[in-house]
Each structure stands twice: as C-alpha cells, then as structure tokens.
C-alpha cells in the first residue's frame, strides 16, 4: 500500500512541476487587449494589467502607437499599483522615452519626476519638471508638472530626526512654490488646472496665515470653476469662514454662506452654516446701524 501511495504523491508532484508552464491566453486584437489591460488597471487587477501590457509591448506586430500605449500602460501599472515597483517603472518610462516623439517623452519625463519625488530625490525631480515646463510650455503635462513642482517645495517631508517624524517647509520654500504656480498662471491663465492651482496657492497662504491673499486666490479659483464636490464644499466654507473670523468681511462671509446654503443644503455642516449666516447678518445690520 505504501508504495502505491508514494506513486500517487509523485504523480501529483509531477503535475505541480508542470504547473509553471501555463499562460493566460490572450486576445488576438491588440487594441482590444490594451483596452482590457487599462480596464484591469483601473479595477485594481494590476497583475493582470502588468502581464497583458508587457505582452502587448513585446508584440512584434504592434504599431508605434500601440507600442507607446503598451509601454505607457506598463510604466503606469508599475508606478501606481498598490504595491508599486518604482525601479521597474523607471525602466519602462526610460524605454518609453526611447520611442521618440513628443507625446511619449512628455509622459516619460512627468512619470520619472514623480518617481524621483516618491524616492525623495527632490532636486532631480524639480529639474525634470522645470525642463518639462520649459520644453513643452503649452502641453497639458506642463500644468500638472507645475503643480507637482510647487508641491515639491511646499510639502512637509518625512524626517525621523525630528521628534514628530516630519520636517516642515520653510516660509521661503512655500513662497517659492507659490511663485511657480503664479508664473504658470500668468503664462497660461486659462489652463484646465487653473482652478486647482489657485486652490493650492490659497492652501499655502492659509498655512502661512496670510488670510487676505488666501481668500483672493480662493475667489479666483471659484471664478475658474471648481467642479469636484469635495473641493467645492471646502472652498465655499473656507471663504466664508475666513472672511468672518479673520478678515471680518461680513459681506463676503454672508455671500459665501448663502451660496453654501444654496449649493449644499444637505451637507454635514449646513446647520453651522445657517447659524453663522444668521450671526453674520446680525453683525452686518449692527454695523450698518
């Protein structure tokens, strides 16, 4: 009996050894495969996305465009998966740049800079981002680059030497971040990310406790149009609250509290807003009389 059992175990072990030869079969059409891969990426199936992107990138029949798409996808997957592999992402971005052409290069530079940032190489990242803004001033990527560049100046960094574990940026660094964004807004005032840029500037001014400037930029952001609900609800509350508490500009406060009530009548803070609105109105009538 013992020998027979042993034979069966061997059999199963052999099956196990063979297991490594398996491969997920692919779709014939490369574009469909790429769509499938992006979908896998966006749904969090990074292993699948990695596999299929790599296969698409290695496909000798791929057109230049498909190769670009596949490499970008592969780099993006390595870069942004839940367990990122930054060195592989870097390789793929570099490979992407070798394809030539503006589009691949822009994506590559932006990606590489973000990796540098994640790895704490601020100087390299800043250099890359500045280069991107300079080389392709009118591109979409330059807008995002400006945001990342500003962020790289203003962001607190991990620093285990500090008791808290973090090093805060100095005021000069924050001013510099603000400057980057302001330059970009000056040269490209109507870029699609202008709203976000103003919000970011305002954030820095709030940290610096320069509230009048913060409010100015929030108002400009509002004018550019901020669509994201989360961002917008904070924007309205901030303008009103800062106007009331810091600037004592009750007219502005009233205006924004009113807009808050109009736009977010069901938001968690609504009762506070309504109360504040009453208070501000009372203050205004008191002022006028």
């Amino acid at each position: 009996m013992g020998r027979r059992r042993f034979a069966a175990v061997i059999l199963i072990a052999a099956a196990a050894a063979l297991a490594g030869c398996g491969k997920v079969t692919g779709t014939a059409d490369l574009n469909a495969l790429l769509t499938e891969s992006w979908r896998a990426y966006s749904t969090g199936d990074f292993d699948f996305a990695e596999d299929t992107f790599r296969r698409a990138a290695g496909n000798p029949d791929a057109t230049a465009e498909q190769r670009y798409g596949a490499l970008l996808g592969l780099a993006t997957t390595y870069h942004w998966s839940t367990s990122p592999d930054l060195s592989k992402a870097r390789e793929s971005y570099l490979e992407l740049a070798e394809l030539g052409g503006d589009q691949p290069r822009r994506q590559s530079v932006l990606g590489l800079a973000q990796i540098d940032l994640a790895e704490g190489k601020k100087a390299e990242a800043q250099l890359g981002l500045m280069q991107l803004i300079k080389d392709f001033p009118d591109s979409l990527e330059a807008n995002e680059a400006a945001l990342h560049l500003a962020d790289s100046y203003c962001d607190p960094t991990w620093d285990e030497a500090q008791a808290s574990g973090f090093a805060l940026p100095s005021d000069e660094q924050m001013q510099r971040g603000i400057q980057v964004l302001q330059d970009r807004l000056e040269s490209h005032p109507d870029n699609p990310l202008a709203g976000s840029m103003h919000v970011m500037i305002a954030d820095q001014y709030i940290q610096l406790k320069e509230f009048p400037k913060a409010v100015d930029h929030l108002l400009m952001a509002d004018k550019e149009g901020v669509e994201g609900v989360l961002t917008r609800v904070i924007l309205l509350w901030r303008v009103a609250r800062i106007a009331e508490k810091e600037l004592k500009d009750y007219e502005l406060a009233e205006q924004y509290y009113e807009r808050y009530v109009d736009e977010f009548p069901r938001y968690v803070l609504i009762y506070r807003v309504m109360k504040s609105l009453e208070r501000v109105r009372a203050l205004r009538t008191a002022e006028e009389s």
Binding site: M1, R4, R5, A7, A8, V9, L11, I12
Partner: protein, 276 residues
C-alpha cells in the same frame, strides 16, 4: 455471553450510566419539541418547561418554510445515493474480481484523495461546475455529491466482493450469466446488508451536506435542508417556536427511513466493521 450473575450495584451502575447518556443524547429532541409549541413570550418566560396554550400554528408555519427544502433534500439525497451505489457496485465488482490495467494506480489515487482537504479542491471544483453549468442546479449537486461518496463505497464494497467465495460467480458464469447479471444476481443479494448500510450512510451524508450547496446553490427554492436551516437562523428576529418546529420536521424523513431500515443498518455496520 457472560452468564455469571453480577452484583446488584454493578447492574444498577451500568443501566444508570446508559440512561444518563441517553437522556443527554435525547435532550435536543426534548428541546425542539417543547420549544416548538411556544410563542416568543412563552419562550422567554419559561424556556425549558412545557407551556400552555400550545401553538400548533408554529408547525404549519415551519412546514411552509422547510417543506420545499425537504423536497430538495430528498431529491438530492436519493439521486446522489442511487448514482453512487450503481456506479460503485459496478466498479467494485470489476476491481474486486479482476486486476485491470492501471487499477492499482487508480486505487492509490483514491486513497490519496481521501486525505485531500476539502477546500483545496473546492475552488477548482466550483470553477469546474461553473464551466459545466452545474451551478445552482440540484442535479449537478447530486452528481458531484455522488462522486464524493464514491471513494468510501468503493473502498468498502471492493473488500467485500474480494472476500466473496469464487464459487458463487463460477456457478453463475456456467449458467451463462453476463457480468451485469452476475452483479444483479450474485453481488446484490450477497452484499445486501452492506449495500443498504452504505446507502443509508450516503443518504444521511447527502442529507447533511452543507458546504457545497452553500456555495453552489443560488435560488432559495432550490436549497437543500442544511443550508435552508442555516439561513433561517440568520433572520434578524428569531421566532424560536417555528424555528424549532422546522428543526424537528427536518428530522422526520430520517426517522421514517430509519424506522424501516434500522435493522439493516446495524447489521451492515457490524458486518462492515468486522471486514474492515
């Protein structure tokens, strides 16, 4: 058996022990029966003693919910048992009387399969059933359950057939009986006891099967008993009376089965144990 008379004390002790054990074993029956006639108020106030009035309605309510589960379980258990036994008897006849090529390897594999933890192949099995569109189907479940029961039945039956005197088969063969006829006229009458014991065990096994139906059956009206009862107790507010009535009802088919087959079963187990 020892006819030497024993002391009164020993006699008393033995019987007292057995009755105490029986009382504990029968406790669930008591609980089910007593609680099944209560509404929740009675249940809360006096859980363990009978209370009046008796709520017969609980039983009707319970029947309405478990009736269909019982039908499903009967279907599942009988179908699975039939498939298991037909296949197993035929195959054990072959394995018990002949040495077929690769038979030993197949046999060794069977033993190994008995050791394989259920879950490790549950997921692949699930995927296989998905590909064969056997999910959410009682027939599919029966077939898979039957496959699961094969191993044990084969193991027991083969030993039995191996030990049967060769002359039985020789006589039949001389009379011109085919293999199939030999199975029907020799194997089945000779192994009747063990086959019925196996049938009962398979039936009870299928009646109790839980994990596989839990995972493969989607529709409530196709659920077998075990899963149905499991779902019943997950309700937000338990109506203990109907719940216990349902538990009791679900035991009834087995009570009937055993009432008729108890003798075979005890005999079969005993025979099987001796051979094993």
């Amino acid at each position: 058996m020892s006819k030497v008379s024993e002391g009164r004390g020993a006699w008393f002790l033995k019987h007292a022990y057995l009755w105490a054990m029986l009382a504990l074993i029968f406790l669930p029956f008591y609980v089910m029966l007593v609680v099944s006639f209560k509404d929740n108020t009675q249940f809360y106030n006096r859980t363990w003693a009978p209370t009046w009035p008796l709520h017969w309605g609980n039983w009707l309510e319970a029947w309405d919910t478990v009736g269909v589960y019982i039908a499903n379980s009967v279907f599942l258990a009988v179908t699975a048992t039939l498939i298991t036994l037909v296949a197993a008897v035929l195959a054990s006849y072959v394995f018990g009387r002949y040495r077929v090529p690769f038979g030993d390897l197949f046999w060794a594999g069977l033993i190994v399969l008995m050791l394989m933890p259920g879950v490790a192949n549950l997921i692949p099995l699930f995927n296989l059933m998905k590909r064969l569109t056997l999910l959410n189907s009682l027939l599919g479940l029966s077939v898979v359950t039957a496959a699961g029961g094969q191993v044990f039945c084969l193991y027991v039956l083969r030993n039995f057939i191996e030990d049967m005197p060769k002359e039985f088969f020789e006589c039949a063969r001389i009379d011109g009986a085919s293999h199939l006829q030999q199975v029907i006229h020799v194997v089945i009458p000779q192994c009747g006891g063990i086959i019925s014991a196996l049938a009962i065990m398979q039936f009870v096994g299928a009646w109790n099967s839980f994990i596989l139906p839990l995972i493969t059956i989607r529709d409530t009206e196709l659920l077998p008993l075990a899963v149905g009862l499991y779902r019943l107790q997950g309700a937000y507010v338990k109506q203990w009376g109907p719940l216990m009535a349902a538990y009791f009802i679900s035991a009834v088919p087995l009570v009937i089965l055993f009432a008729f087959t108890m003798r075979f079963f005890i005999r079969g187990i005993s025979e099987g144990a001796i051979k094993g």
